[in-house]
Symmetry: C2
Subunit: 83 residues, 2 copies
């Protein structure tokens, strides 16, 4: 068994929240001649946690997201526990 | 057929490159009482491009990554074309 379990958290801005960094990158790509209609930039956080049962890992990581990793007003998060 | 194709680009720091933002978050999680041995924070970029054949989409997005989206010295990128 591995020493740690890798948990991936995808944190995405809600669709209604604008993404100025993405808009800037979209403009820069168009200036370079690329045909891009929209760009969104989001965060992926990879955590190494002690191995354990998936339900308790998910509960702990959900608490981390709610308390620190994600902004609950603007962002949604998705937790993937890698086998 | 959809108006646009969604392409997801995962941009990851090379393992040898340190991630100070991740280290800070790991420390903050430990201060909150969570058992986390390592945290890495990476970027996910979602592009909307005109539909077309996957090989030309991949070639175009690779060029975008090399020219603008990724830092070739520090980062690797992975391109996923969503069906």
């Amino acid at each position: 068994m591995a020493d740690t379990t890798t948990v991936t958290v995808n944190i995405r801005r809600r669709p209604s929240i604008s993404d100025p960094q993405g808009a800037t990158v979209a403009r820069a790509l168009r200036d370079l001649g690329h045909n891009v209609s929209d760009v969104r930039i989001d965060k992926t956080i990879e955590l190494q946690v002690p191995p354990g049962d998936p339900d308790s890992i998910r509960a702990a990581v959900t608490e981390m997201c709610e308390k620190l990793l994600a902004n609950p007003v603007m962002e949604d998060f998705e937790i993937v526990i890698n086998p």
